[in-house]
């Protein structure tokens, strides 16, 4: 094909896909290294989730069902890290288990180890298994697990051992973490970090029994928002935006809409569901994976929008030409 001379508009609309791909790699990689906090207004569903997490009682453990693996790491890892930081900084005990994938516990353990190292560097006590949290590993049948938890929490988590500080293994029900817990009703919140339909199972089996919080991928969140609206989910963090919302609130805190605006904390998010809540910023790492990815996401989305505009320019200019001639 002999190409006649092309003007800049035609060149823009005729770029090779490879050029675009290179641009996307360059743009998303460069912004990973830039630290800048983009101002946001957290979505009400993530505000609610954060409000739940920040007001948890310290004497009861939270159940964390971690169902993500490395294939959805881009969104789930940020969510899980934020969840761990919030729980640890608020000194809330938790029990972690997985029901979707045999690989999930290992992935979660890696994150806990990494955050403990971070805490040490910040001069805080690391979170210890047995005393501060329990690790129950993997349960093969998500539906059965939900059913069993509803029927009898003790049986559902029976025969699981964790290592005591003195180096011996003991049944998790002897641990101080589960002190005072008899049934699922004693659990103040169950958070599901997932990239699959495990949350549907939880809503079906445990709805009404325990407060459910959800951290899911961006693809899932449009389908899950109706459950938040109907109250079946007490809070929801969807995709990368959800991660960044959480990190934003960890860094700036939240206040109920009846709480007067504190001028020293101007960026606090406003919570409508709990009008007297007053949460100060967390001490420690707040902005991390979510913040660095979110900037790259902006860059990538901008590139996408520019690409669409560029693609349409030639069409428009051709139409203008046709109208003139």
């Amino acid at each position: 094909m002999s190409q006649p001379e092309r003007n800049w508009v035609e060149k823009l609309s005729g770029a090779k896909p490879t050029t675009l791909y290179m641009l996307l790699i360059v743009v998303s990689a460069i912004f990973l290294f830039i630290k800048y906090q983009i101002p946001v207004k957290p979505d009400p569903e993530s505000v609610d989730l954060y409000a739940r997490l920040a007001t948890l009682p310290k004497d009861r453990p939270v159940l964390v069902q971690s169902d993500w693996t490395n294939s959805s790491r881009g969104e789930s890892a940020g969510q899980f890290e934020a969840l761990m930081r919030i729980l640890m900084d608020n000194e809330i005990k938790f029990v972690i288990y997985s029901a979707a994938d045999p690989q999930a516990p290992q992935v979660a353990r890696n994150v806990i180890r990494f955050i403990n190292e971070e805490r040490k560097a910040e001069g805080k006590a690391p979170y210890k298994v047995w005393e501060n949290y329990l690790d129950c590993g993997y349960f093969p049948n998500a539906e059965g697990m939900g059913q069993a938890m509803k029927a009898n929490l003790r049986n559902a988590f029976s025969n699981k051992k964790n290592r005591k500080p003195d180096g011996t293994d003991a049944d998790i029900w002897e641990s101080p973490v589960l002190a005072g817990v008899k049934s699922i009703k004693d659990i103040p919140l169950l958070v599901n970090v997932t990239a699959s339909a495990t949350i549907d199972v939880l809503i079906e089996r445990l709805g009404g029994q325990v407060n459910l919080g959800l951290m899911c991928t961006g693809v899932m969140s449009p389908q899950m928002v109706p459950y938040y609206a109907s109250g079946q989910l007490k809070g929801l963090s969807g995709g990368l935006k959800g991660v960044y919302d959480l990190e934003w609130m960890m860094n700036y805190g939240i206040r109920g809409d009846q709480v007067p605006n504190d001028p020293s904390l101007p960026n606090r998010a406003v919570c409508k569901s709990n009008s007297t809540i007053d949460v100060k910023p967390l001490q420690g790492t707040t902005f991390s994976r979510g913040a660095s990815y979110y900037l790259s996401l902006h860059a990538a989305l901008t590139l996408m929008i520019l690409a669409v505009v560029a693609g349409n320019l030639s069409l428009i200019s051709a139409r203008i030409k046709a109208r003139k001639g």
């Binding site: 896909p17 069993a148 029927a151 009898n152 049986n155 693809v219």
Partner: protein, 318 residues
């Protein structure tokens, strides 16, 4: 012994829809009633796509989605059988890539059969219908590789597709192939609409076999489906009329609590749960008194002794 938990209305509606479809199939079998089908652009392009592949001497690739063996996969293979019929006549090479062993078995048998019936069984290569992988992204990588290496001229992506849909569509596009796609996964349809030349949207997918073969049974079934859709539309219309009137002009005087009607102290505005449509669609739970049934007890099996919380793997347990 009762329909409490399903509701009579649900059973009635299901029976009605099943009835529409079966009656229309019977009528069509006797060649009664109209046999019109509206134009579906994607399907008219099949011959064009194969024609191009034949001209260029390059293969046609077909992917029946990554779901298991169900009607979606069967429908895909039905359409592919039609594609292969034309391909067999013109000796156009084909590649059918499966992600499920059961789908592979069906495809293998059906496509071989097509070549047999066309009388050109020698043109059929067993390996042209192949199993690639049942792992989503391994399958995607494999098929993308095949599309690019074989330089396909036409591509058919019909079936249950998930995230991998764009990998196929863009790989085929890079080869300049004509693409005809359709998915019952509504979340993937926009990606096919953006990237492919022809797309079957929604249940155009299920109409395809009727459109291609003009078999009376299929056309009758399609007519039954249309009546079912009209039934749905009528329900919605009836619903918004009655719901609007009820909530505007009447007040709630009582409500169901645990399956029993309890009168309210004070009348109030009707909410979404107070309309009579709601009672059709949301059957009441069983009243407390009727929900307990005492029956004679059988002896425990040996595996049910002890705590008995662990249900046996087969039978017995709930």
């Amino acid at each position: 012994m009762q329909y409490y938990d399903k509701g009579w209305f649900g059973v009635l509606a299901t029976v009605l829809v099943v009835g529409f479809i079966l009656v229309m199939i019977q009528r069509a079998k006797r060649h009664e009633g109209n046999l019109f089908i509206r134009r579906i652009a994607g399907l008219n392009a099949i011959d064009e796509a194969i024609g191009r592949a034949t001209e260029m001497g390059r293969p046609v690739v077909m992917v029946p989605g990554i779901g298991g063996l169900d009607a979606i996969a069967v429908q895909a293979i039905n359409i592919f059988a039609k594609v292969c019929q034309t391909a067999a006549r013109f000796a156009t090479p084909i590649k059918l890539c499966c992600a499920d062993p059961a789908v592979y078995a069906v495809a293998q048998e059906t496509i071989r059969d097509v070549y047999q019936r066309e009388g050109v069984i020698e043109r059929f290569e067993t390996d042209s219908v192949q199993f690639v992988s049942d792992r989503q992204f391994a399958f995607a990588a494999g098929v993308a590789g095949i599309i690019q290496r074989e330089k396909v001229a036409a591509a058919f992506f019909l079936g249950a597709f998930f995230a991998e849909s764009l990998i196929f569509a863009e790989s085929a596009n890079a080869m300049g192939a004509i693409q005809i796609a359709g998915s019952t996964q509504t979340t993937q349809t926009p990606f096919f609409v953006a990237a492919c030349d022809y797309v079957l949207i929604g249940d155009e997918y299920y109409a395809a076999s009727a459109y291609l073969t003009r078999e009376p049974i299929l056309i009758g079934s399609l007519l039954g489906q249309d009546y079912s859709k009209i039934f749905f539309a009528a329900l919605i219309t009836l619903g918004f009329i009655t719901v609007s009137c009820e909530r505007s002009f009447t007040k709630a005087t009582g409500e169901f609590k645990e399956g029993k009607w309890v009168a309210l102290e004070k009348e109030r505005t009707k909410g979404p749960g107070d309309t009579f449509m709601s009672m059709w669609f949301n059957p009441q739970s069983i009243p407390e008194a009727e929900s307990k049934v005492e029956r004679p007890q059988r002896e425990k099996n040996w595996w049910e002794e002890g705590g008995g919380d662990a249900a046996p793997a087969a039978g017995g347990g709930e």
